[in-house]
């Protein structure tokens, strides 16, 4: 009898991993993940390559030639022009937008208008708004007549990078990277959610396929319905594991390759005076000293990215992957039984809706709680949801990168295992009756009857 179950497992497994969609997803998944990790950093190195010229009508006469230009953002200062004039044949002008600065500006912040025939680019807007703010600030400071003002301004530029240290019980300090823990927790929790849904619904579709094609009747004249159900769940679970292991492997390869490629020219000395000219549009040295806004912030972002890469090696990937494997498997087994029971009760996929809702609610809830748990992994909410079996796979996965006491993890695991055994047993009872029922759409009362029905 054991060997029959393994035949079923083998069929479920091999028929799936040979599918084109599985191979495509296996290869594409890591590319997507790598893109998620490298992408933001890479996009930061990209610039807007379109040269935009902005017509400036400056009634305040404070800014002539003062707005910092970049390679891709130019300003043309118009004398004696009115907004109306330009508007009339705006499409014929080379201008991207018109910047109108009223003469009351220094006292009224709303005196600046940016006008265009399309929605102006957010970066352009921010650049102008920053530039005008800084320029006004500068002029206001200037009004105090301080000597060597420019030097002072330059010397007070500061960049802070906070290191977080967690004191261990054994007296050892551990440097943590909250952003990294958040990232890892988020990816782990989300992957579990995704995998449970993805492979849980594969179980559901598989059961419905067998039922609607009536193959099930032939199979269960050879094996017990419970063997068929367990075989299917195990086979699909193995597919999930295979996919995950491939993803981990390929993501590591891609990320290391990507890090080499994208960041090779960014491996800069760790001195605090980073001037990352690759990232920021080259502005003149002079204006950069006047505009401490753009460069240091970007440099900080940049150093954070490199830091994350540097500290990736500090993450205990062994623990993470081990925890992921456990919570994925146990969570999947818990939900797969439910999905199988639902599928057995209906004739086609459309009828699953009414039963799907109560099953998916805890999963969707865990995504919401995940957002909270990432910010606050020690909160009561995060604690309880990481203990309650239906949400614990996702939430515990989110918390683990931040460090969770052993007893909590063990409690959560034990509860999860007990619940999944209970659920599988119940699902088996519903399943063996459900797969032979055709035509009638059952309700919950019926399902309860099947559950208590002694076959």
């Amino acid at each position: 009898m054991k060997s029959k179950t393994s035949l079923i497992v083998a069929r479920e497994y091999f028929s799936r991993i040979r599918k084109k969609s599985f191979i495509v997803m296996t290869l594409l998944g890591p590319v997507l993940f790598a893109a998620l990790i490298i992408g933001p950093a890479w996009f930061a190195t990209l610039e807007d390559r379109e040269v935009r010229t902005i017509a400036v009508i400056d009634e305040s006469e404070l800014f002539k030639g003062q707005l910092p230009e970049t390679e891709y953002l130019k300003f043309t200062y118009l004398e004696d022009a009115s907004v109306e004039e330009i508007r009339e044949n705006f499409s014929q002008t080379p201008y991207y937008a018109v910047l109108y600065i009223s003469h009351i500006l220094p006292h009224t912040p709303s005196a600046v208008q940016l006008m265009s025939d399309r929605q102006p680019n957010l970066n352009v807007r921010m650049h102008i708004s920053n530039a005008i703010e800084k320029e006004i600030e500068r002029q206001k400071i200037k009004a105090y007549d301080i000597e060597n003002l420019d030097d002072i301004l330059q010397s007070i530029q500061t960049s802070i990078n906070i290191r977080t240290i967690v004191w261990g019980d054994d007296g050892a300090d551990r440097e943590t990277h909250p952003a990294l823990a958040m990232g890892t927790g988020y990816i782990g929790g989300f992957l579990i959610y995704l995998f449970i849904f993805l492979f849980g619904s594969q179980v559901m579709r598989g059961v419905i396929e067998e039922k609607s094609s009536r193959v099930v009747e032939i199979i269960i004249s050879s094996v017990r319905p419970f063997q068929l159900m367990i075989g299917k769940i195990a086979g699909i679970g193995l597919v999930g594991l295979t996919q995950f292991l491939f993803w981990v492997l390929l993501t590591f390869i891609l990320v290391s390759a990507g890090r080499g490629l994208v960041f090779s020219e960014l491996q800069v000395p760790s001195s605090e005076q980073v001037v990352a000219e690759d990232i920021i549009s080259s502005s003149s040295q002079e204006s950069s000293s006047l505009l401490p806004d753009s460069q240091p912030i970007s440099a900080e972002q940049y150093s954070e990215v490199t830091q994350i890469f540097a500290s990736l090696s500090t993450v205990n990937f062994g623990v993470m992957i081990g925890a992921f494997l456990f919570f994925f498997l146990a969570g999947y087994l818990l939900y797969a039984g439910l999905f199988a029971a639902i599928a057995s009760a209906v004739d086609n996929e459309a009828d699953t809706q009414q039963f799907m809702l109560p099953v998916t609610i805890p999963l969707i809830l865990s995504i919401f709680v995940m957002m909270n748990a990432i910010q606050n992994p020690e909160s009561a909410l995060a604690f309880w949801f990481s203990i309650i079996p239906f949400t614990s796979p996702v939430i515990m996965m989110v918390r683990i990168p931040f460090g969770v006491p052993y007893w909590e993890v063990i409690l959560s695991m034990v509860l999860l295992i007990v619940t999944f055994i209970l659920i599988t047993w119940m699902a088996g009872k519903i399943y063996r009756t459900g797969i032979l029922m055709y035509g009638k759409k059952p309700n919950y009362k019926e399902l309860w009857k099947w559950l208590t029905y002694n076959n």
Partner: protein
Amino acid sequence: MELFAARNVTKQYSNHIALNDVTVSIPEHSIYGLLGPNGAGKTTLIRIINQIMAPDSGELLFNGRKLKSSDIQHIGYMPEERGLYKKMKVGEQAIYMGRLKGLSRADTLKRVKYWFEKFEIYDWLDKKVEELSKGMQQKVQFIITVLHEPMLLIFDEPFSGFDPINTNLLKNEVINLKKRGATIIFSTHNMGSVEELCDHITLIDNAKSIISGAVHEIRQKFKPGIYEIHFEGAPQKLDSFLSSDYEIMDMKETGGGCMARIKMHKASANNELLKILMPHYHITSFTELLPGMNDIFIDLVNEKKGEKDEK
């Protein structure tokens, strides 16, 4: 000797009784017809034989002892609603099903090869089921059912969906299987095939077995006592020779003679009628008309319905 027996089997679903104290005894090396209108309980009985479900009460015997779960490898089942994995290759599927029945890989391969060659469908081994026509799928289904050479074969409506050529092929195969020692259960509405193939039947209606026995005995039992006689002589006088125990149902002239159907009201030996007729006519043929299974089936089911309505 009986291969399978169900004694006093009762099965109740939440709101109705599917089988009520049903007893069947299936003799070895025979073809057994399980008849009955839709919803009578045939499929439930078949599922119980297949151990897909268990009866609430009653006893199941296989080969002279209690039915056990390992007996499923001696049973082959072709459900009415044919089912195969649509996306799976035909050959792989046959091997999978054979192995689920407990065959070794090598045995399964050998037998799959044998059957696919026999049915001249060897080229389909690598095709997916969904690429096959319905008739082709039926053949594959049949092969899957018999692959493990079961002692007991159960066919639920085996001829539905087959074209006449394939029906014939299937009938011959079934007869072959019987010759080789298999016992076969047909669940069917097709009374023609019952008369042609079945040795024994059980008629189930409304969860109960109404009649059970050898086909020829049942037909004897339900014969209406009508004789078809071909003779030469003066037909108009026939009436005067017969007593009130006999009734002429109809009469007509055929080429060179006459044909009459006579109903006997009182049970008596066939020879009595012959004795009456022989002095007056030259009799060319004398046949007692046996009822078709179809008529028996309809009569019995309607009779039961009438009884129920009276209550």
